[in-house]
């Protein structure tokens, strides 16, 4: 038996490629297993935050304004908050958890010592966050339905729109983390870029109410394109123009993804 075996050639190892599905799955399994230990707190904030916004704007502001841009205000704001929830649950976890994982927990050292590349690591992390935003993004819409938003078939598209925009935000968050010197430095991005995006996104009031410069800014704001797509899906007004919004979100996700991979490589490979 042993003699026969000594003449048998060792099986040639399979050649490992770029962006291997097994590597992506491996990194995502780690995230999923970890998520099982903190999903309650994460889901709590992702559910309660948009509900508070809805109550504040829907009932507070909504008592002053009945319709906006032809929609009931609660419908308008309920769909708008989908996009802000996607931003919150996409970019922020990506920024903070990425930084914590490479800076404090050295998790990425362990993963990169296994047959996993930075590109696979970043892609898997962004995809997992995208899945989560796909789910969390629907929460404000469901809450708005309790307050009177009419159900529609187009709503079934919302998780996919949320996941697409979420993948872009997640990758953008990873990019910010890769550039961050310290966790405190994230406040510049947060207050200097992400929060102002709220103002020019058509979330709480229509972009057409704003001065022209703000409208131009809105057109390069992924949040705005996400809001427009969500509204078109929910209110059944999808048209050719929405392909432009879709293309913008795809482009945003691709550019953020490449930036995240590139800067994480710089950060993790010395």
């Amino acid at each position: 038996m042993a003699a026969a075996a000594t003449t048998a050639p060792a099986p040639a190892p399979r050649r490992l490629r770029r962006l291997e599905r097994a590597a992506l799955a491996g990194v995502m399994v780690r995230e999923v297993v970890n998520y099982s230990s903190f999903w309650r707190s994460s889901t709590f904030s992702s559910t309660v935050d948009p509900t508070i916004y809805l109550l504040a704007f829907g009932f507070g502001f909504g008592s002053l304004v009945s319709t906006v841009a032809g929609y009931d205000y609660i419908d308008f704001v309920g769909t708008g908050i989908v996009a802000t929830t996607v931003l919150f649950s996409g970019a922020f976890p990506a920024m903070y958890s990425t930084f914590v994982k490479f800076h404090f927990q050295h998790t990425y050292d362990a993963i990169l010592a296994a047959p996993v590349d930075v590109e696979e690591l970043v892609t898997a992390e962004a995809l997992w966050i995208a899945v989560r935003t796909g789910v969390y993004g629907c929460v404000p819409m469901l809450v708005a339905m309790v307050f009177g938003l009419d159900p529609s078939v187009g709503m079934l598209l919302v998780p996919f729109i949320a996941a697409l925009a979420g993948s872009g935000w997640a990758a953008f968050g990873i990019f910010i983390a890769a550039r961050g010197k310290s966790i405190e430095s994230f406040s510049y991005w947060q207050s200097g870029l992400l929060t102002p995006m709220f103002l020019v996104a058509g979330t709480f009031f229509p972009l057409s109410q704003l001065p022209q410069w703000a409208q131009i800014l809105g057109n390069v704001n992924p949040l705005y394109h996400c809001v427009e797509l969500v509204r078109a899906a929910v209110f059944g007004t999808l048209g050719w123009a929405d392909l432009g919004h879709l293309a913008f979100l795809v482009g945003f996700a691709l550019v953020s993804w490449r930036l995240a991979v590139r800067f994480m490589e710089r950060r993790l490979i010395l």
Binding site: A2, A8, L16, H106, P115, L270
Partner: protein, 344 residues
């Protein structure tokens, strides 16, 4: 299930043993305990396919800004052997370890791991090697078993083989009874054993151990030594960095002593000791003035000395009747003589 090359690797090991410490036993013999149901599976890792050595570095240079961390290092880890990288903090050991997983990219030189050229083919090499890091990077909120499961996926262990792989790794690391415990409930020693178990899930041919016992108490350190020695007996090639001299003497077939990013000596521990420190040292204790006298006297007689805190060790005395405590020389003597630095 012996594979080609295994016999040769074992013979090579025996030769190394005879050359190095076969006659003068620095290393207390550790009798490998057979591990039920896995010995024959693990033996094939000693095969020599895919290159002459498990690790081969030539002229490896790495600079960080103006600082040269590694300065033209040559290093060989023959298949089936345990090689130690010895040196103080800042000698370039960790940079070298990171380069072997392509987490550090060489500025100059050629690096080959398991026959794969780095950094281009590093992923292929990483698939067949395990890494035990210096810093604990376990997922503390997860259980022991969950930590291992994640790495089964990362190491591409097929679905049906995952459970047996986890069972086996837990058995090796003596953690079977703690499989359901959360990592943050484990002691430091258990966590270190879990890091080793994690590196062995996919039955690697090569294991890198970066300061495997740093910060552990002596008893736990010895447990880990037994564990590492068992890996060696199973034919796994090992490269370990350490700044504990005793660890290198006990476990390594060969050591490379590093200082300021360079290899200052390479060889079997016993051979290096015999070559550089001679057979015995005379340890002279006394007040500082007396120690200075001893040093001056030794210098005049062509002997080598090293200060060890409250004493002076005098070496190469060739049976002099100098009064003092006689002891067997060790790698630490070699290190200090070669580099002028204390190691720990």
């Amino acid at each position: 299930m012996l594979r080609p090359g295994h016999g040769e690797a074992v013979r090579a090991r025996l030769r190394t043993a005879a050359d190095g410490y076969g006659t003068m036993s620095v290393r207390p013999p550790m009798i490998p305990r057979p591990i039920p149901g896995r010995t024959s599976q693990m033996l094939h890792h000693a095969d020599t396919s895919g290159g002459a050595a498990a690790i081969r570095l030539r002229g490896f240079v790495k600079r960080f800004g103006g600082v040269t961390a590694v300065d033209g290092l040559d290093l060989d880890v023959p298949y089936g052997s345990c090689v130690g990288l010895l040196g103080p903090n800042g000698a370039g050991k960790s940079t070298t370890m990171k380069a072997l997983t392509a987490q550090v990219i060489a500025d100059e030189g050629t690096l080959e791991v398991l026959g794969h050229r780095l950094p281009g083919d590093s992923k292929q090499a990483r698939a067949a090697m395990g890494v035990v890091p210096q810093l604990d990077n376990l997922d503390v909120q997860l259980t022991v078993e969950q930590n291992l499961l994640v790495f089964c996926h990362l190491y591409r262990v097929p679905a049906r083989a995952r459970r047996p792989a986890i069972d086996r790794a837990l058995a090796i690391a003596n953690l079977t009874r703690r499989r359901g415990a959360r990592v943050d409930e484990l002691s430091g020693g258990m966590r270190r054993r879990l890091l080793i178990a994690r590196a062995l899930l996919h039955e690697p041919r090569l294991v890198l151990l970066d300061e495997p016992t740093v910060g552990l108490d002596p008893q736990v350190r010895q447990e880990l030594w037994a564990l590492i020695d068992r890996m060696r007996s199973d034919g796994v090639s090992i490269l370990m960095s350490t700044h504990y001299i005793e660890e290198a003497e006990r476990l390594c077939d060969e050591v490379t002593i590093m200082s300021h990013g360079r290899a200052v000596a390479v060889g079997a521990p016993r051979a290096l000791i015999a070559e550089h420190a001679g057979p015995e040292a005379i340890e002279v204790y006394g007040p500082p003035l007396r120690l200075s006298e001893v040093e001056a006297d030794a210098l005049a007689r062509g002997w080598r000395t090293r200060r060890t805190g409250t004493s002076v060790a005098v070496l190469h005395t060739n049976g002099s009747d100098l009064e003092g405590e006689r002891r067997v020389t060790n790698l630490e003597d070699v290190f200090v003589l070669l580099t002028g630095e204390e190691i720990a």
